[in-house]
């Protein structure tokens, strides 16, 4: 495979950059067998030199975590990325993906200029056009659609640091249909449950204080495999300091490595286990009653409700024996409040996800771990007043995805929307036709919840598909017009301001000029807006926004920020409860809501899924001979975005199908057999076969594959068709409370290839 890959060195040769110093390694004539004295004298001298080059500050965009990055360039070529030691997101470290950011930038498969489609949709035939032509094309196609169907016919999907700009553009055009897949395709149900209980979401930068924890219960949250640097560090640190780890997952992931107890739970029954824990804690008087009395609402209701969920009952549902449930509940309570129960991050699983996380939230609340070391820390804002940016008024039009007051999903946030709802609306043309999509850094074909086949049909209903991206994803290949974005190593972005344990500001400055004819998302959206005479909204460029920080920061702070690339605000208290300060919760009762009174009416109207206390329901089950498809992240790739990065592909370029030995035996399969998956509902068969990995690490009845593979875009010369796209084999369910997707009720047959 090596020869097909373009290393930076190869890239430079192609690009004809002759001035670049390449370590001389040319052996002239064969050396005499015995070293001469002169050779001996200089032997190894080359290994004493190291030219670090020029440092520029940045933050990582290989995933959403945005670790601090120092880029080092030699003669205008980025040589090395290092973690910024002062940035709280990563404290000097980068993960494999972060380290591989260079390889993604120096990738000749990138989009190199604006493009307009010439062939059939998805055929991959484009012509190179000027920026002006591309902007005009959008105007000429979109304007008639807006006239005919109203501005709400445009739906915009966003993921990445440039999000504010497509957001602004869409609002200015007048469509409310802005959607951030991180909600409905990922964290939505978790955030909803946390907000109902604590009045605030967990947030993207999670607030679990693992480094100081004495006992962590991870409910299907793979800290070591789905790597975000600070969390992985804190996880390893907590364990090194002797924390107990209860790891709950039908699959033994990387995070189970040093679990005190690995509970190989029945899939979809985490709520039963959490309710069982709560039962034991209340039954045996183990709750932190000081905290409960002071800060919690609905303890009596909870006490009554939880009686039905004994460990014996829970054991029948979740497959973990009652003694173990009791033991862990006791251990957990013993170490309270320095303990934490952690819900999944991507909580798009069984359709009962919000209520499952509600149970986990209640478990935390009973420990009184809010604002305590080793529990849940409190995020603090950067204590400065930033000037408010002018934003267009929120459009009046009704959203297409069922989000909003009086709609089917009244609790879901209009600022994030339901990406799955937009797919549905585009497919069904209800409540009104969606005729245009603007994709910014998102790839629906790799995070669909209505099934990939239906998504192709939805795309057929579009008259205009606009993409802004650094690379050709499967969905970008279907675009009518493509705007190439500069990578994070080539562009400025607005100051990065993070509310956190230690809040901070970080800067992104380009290390190199764009390698190709690309622009930042700001410039691109402004260019489109100009055609609509809406560019007044795009007043300040990211670079100007960085400069304007001098209006809120003093001279010394500005200097520190420029010098370090990050400015910390350390005079804050992430542990107000431990310090004896009074806590505030922005719920309707101003308390931690064990019982969510606000849901009472909704329960009457919509049923038990909206219950003020979590009510257990069995998950959908596969028929005999079928398997449940489970999937999750690998430490080596960022969602479905990095599978064309040569160095990450070296670490993983396939998705073996994990199967339990009992199941394999029944099926007559053995380890290493080549198999295909067939979706039991749609009949879709995987395009190519996968190696079977027979292992007790996966629970009988389920199979597992890694997420993010199986790309169909031929523009990816390395990542094309590597592994299986799990989207063909997952479910299209919806959690009724959050409106977020439910993927884990998809069932497959496994057949020999």
């Amino acid at each position: 495979m090596g020869r097909h890959n373009i290393s930076r060195r190869g890239f430079l040769k192609l690009a004809g950059a002759s001035s670049v110093a390449i370590t001389a390694g040319i052996t002239g004539l064969p050396s005499p067998l015995k070293a001469s004295a002169a050779q001996e004298a200089t032997r190894g001298a080359r290994f004493l030199k190291y030219d670090r080059g020029v440092k520029t500050h940045n933050f990582c965009e290989m995933c959403f975590w945005n670790c601090g990055v120092d880029t080092y360039t030699r003669n205008g070529v980025i040589h090395k990325l290092e973690g910024n030691k002062l940035n709280p997101n990563n404290r000097g470290h980068l993960c494999a993906k972060g380290n591989a950011g260079i390889q993604s930038t120096y990738d000749a498969d990138r989009i190199q200029s604006p493009l307009i489609r010439t062939g059939k949709r998805g055929e991959g035939k484009f012509k190179k056009v000027s920026w002006e032509e591309a902007y005009k094309y959008v105007y000429e196609k979109l304007n008639p659609l807006v006239d005919e169907f109203g501005p709400e016919t445009l739906a915009t999907f966003m993921h990445g640091t440039g999000e504010p700009y497509p957001h602004m553009l869409t609002m200015a055009i007048g469509s409310p249909n802005i959607t951030i897949p991180a909600y409905s395709q990922c964290m939505g149900s978790r955030e909803m449950a946390w907000a109902l209980t604590f009045g605030t979401g967990v947030s993207g930068h999670e607030t679990f204080d693992m480094a100081n924890s004495k006992h962590m219960i991870l409910f299907g949250r793979n800290m070591a495999g789905a790597v975000q640097v600070r969390e992985a560090e804190d996880f390893a640190e907590g364990l090194a300091r002797g924390a107990r780890l209860t790891y709950v997952d039908p699959r033994q992931s990387e995070s189970a490595v040093r679990a005190t107890d690995w509970l190989q739970i029945n899939p979809g029954t985490d709520m039963a286990l959490a309710l069982g824990f709560i039962h034991v804690i209340i039954r045996d008087n183990l709750a932190n009653m000081d905290f409960v009395r002071k800060y919690c609402y609905g303890y009596n209701e909870l006490t009554k409700h939880i009686k039905q969920y004994s460990p014996k009952w829970a054991s029948k549902k979740c497959g973990i024996d009652a003694k173990t449930i009791e033991k862990i509940a006791w251990e957990f309570a013993k170490d309270a409040p320095n303990v934490v129960a952690i819900p999944p991050r991507r909580m798009t699983r069984y359709g009962n996800d919000t209520q499952t996380v509600r149970a986990i939230a209640i478990l935390n609340a009973l420990m009184g771990n809010w604002g305590v070391p080793g529990g849940i820390f409190v995020r603090n804002k950067v204590p400065l007043d930033f000037p408010k940016e002018d934003m267009p008024d929120a459009p009046d039009a009704r959203r297409a995805d069922g989000v909003g007051e009086g709609e089917k999903y009244p609790l879901a946030p209009t600022t994030l929307g339901r990406t799955n709802g937009i797919y549905e609306a585009t497919l069904t043309k209800k409540p009104y036709p969606i005729k245009a999509w603007l994709l910014y850094g998102t790839n629906p074909l790799s995070h669909s919840s209505i099934g990939v086949n239906n998504l192709y049909k939805a795309i057929d209903n579009l008259e205009l598909l606009i993409a802004i991206d650094t690379q050709f994803s499967d969905t970008v290949m279907y675009a009518d017009v493509i705007f190439p974005e500069s990578t994070y190593l080539e562009r400025y972005d607005a100051p990065y301001i993070q509310k956190d344990k230690t809040p901070f500001i970080a800067l992104r400055k380009p290390a190199i000029k764009p390698l190709y004819d690309t622009k930042g998302c700001f410039e691109i959206c402004k260019g489109i807006a100009k055609e609509f005479e809406l560019d007044d909204w795009f007043e300040k460029s990211p670079k100007e926004m960085q400069e304007e920080l001098s209006q809120v920061l003093n001279k010394e702070q500005m200097e520190t920020l420029e010098k370090d690339g990050v400015l910390l605000f350390e005079d804050v208290d992430p542990y107000p409860n431990a310090s004896g300060a009074a806590l505030n919760f922005s719920t309707s009762t101003s308390k931690v809501q064990l019982y969510v009174k606000d849901l009472e009416d909704m329960q009457k109207k919509h049923g038990d899924e909206f219950s003020p206390l979590p009510i257990y329901k069995d998950p959908a089950m596969p028929k005999a001979g079928e398997f449940r498809t489970l999937f999750g992240r690998t430490p080596h790739h960022s969602h479905a975005r990095s599978q064309n990065n040569w160095v990450l592909l070296e670490l993983q370029d396939d998705t073996p199908v994990w199967m339990n030995p009992e199941d394999a035996k029944k099926m007559g399969f053995k380890d290493g057999d080549m198999v295909s998956l067939v979706n039991a509902k749609t009949g879709h068969k995987s395009d190519h076969s996968e190696r079977l990995k027979v292992t007790k690490r996966i629970k009988s009845g389920s199979i597992f594959i890694h997420h993010g593979f199986g790309h169909t875009t031929k523009a990816w010369t390395r990542g094309y068709e590597k592994g299986t796209k799990e989207n063909w084999f997952i479910s299209d369910g919806v959690d009724p409370l959050s409106g977020a997707a439910a993927f884990h009720n998809g069932f497959v047959k496994v057949v020999k290839a």
């Binding site: 390694g25 190894g44 080359r46 290994f47 973690g83 090194a240």
Partner: protein, 197 residues
Amino acid sequence: MSLIQNNIKKEKNLAMVIVGDRCIGCDACYVSCKTDWDVPAMKEAFRTKVFEVEGEDVNGNPTIGFLPTLCNHCDNAPCVDVCPTGASFKRDEDGIVLVEPDMCIGCKACMVACPYDARYYNEEEQTVDKCTFCLPRISNGLDPACVSTCVGESRNFGDLNDKESNVSKMLKDATSVFKLKEDEGTSPNVYYVTLNY
């Protein structure tokens, strides 16, 4: 008997101490190393690699662990012994084992001799290549590329002749210490430890 066995004299005794149970198998080290040293784009080419080790405990339950590997900078280095040109050599000053590209004829005898599979042949540079303990970086005041990025803070680097160095302290405090394939008589300088802090 001391855990640290020196059978040759070195001014410094550079070593890597890997806290085994802190490694989360993230492979950040692999990418950081390949990038810094322009290691060619092929799976066979690497200076450090982390293995996932699957097993079973006494009850038949599955177990997993991670094992970061790199050149051990052996005190009795078979790769150096077999090298016909002197391209592979061990530095007296700190014990680092290097390959001098100008002197390497590509006979690959060292690759066969190394019990640790620590070497690969670099077609682009026409030389055998391997971990240098990041000599260029450490000569200029930096940590090795793998150590500086290690997410689990599993990898530690320093001088065992300095009793105050972090690596010396770790070996002193370790509840268990092992080195790979010690029975080969290679006297490796990469230690795997368990700590109780």
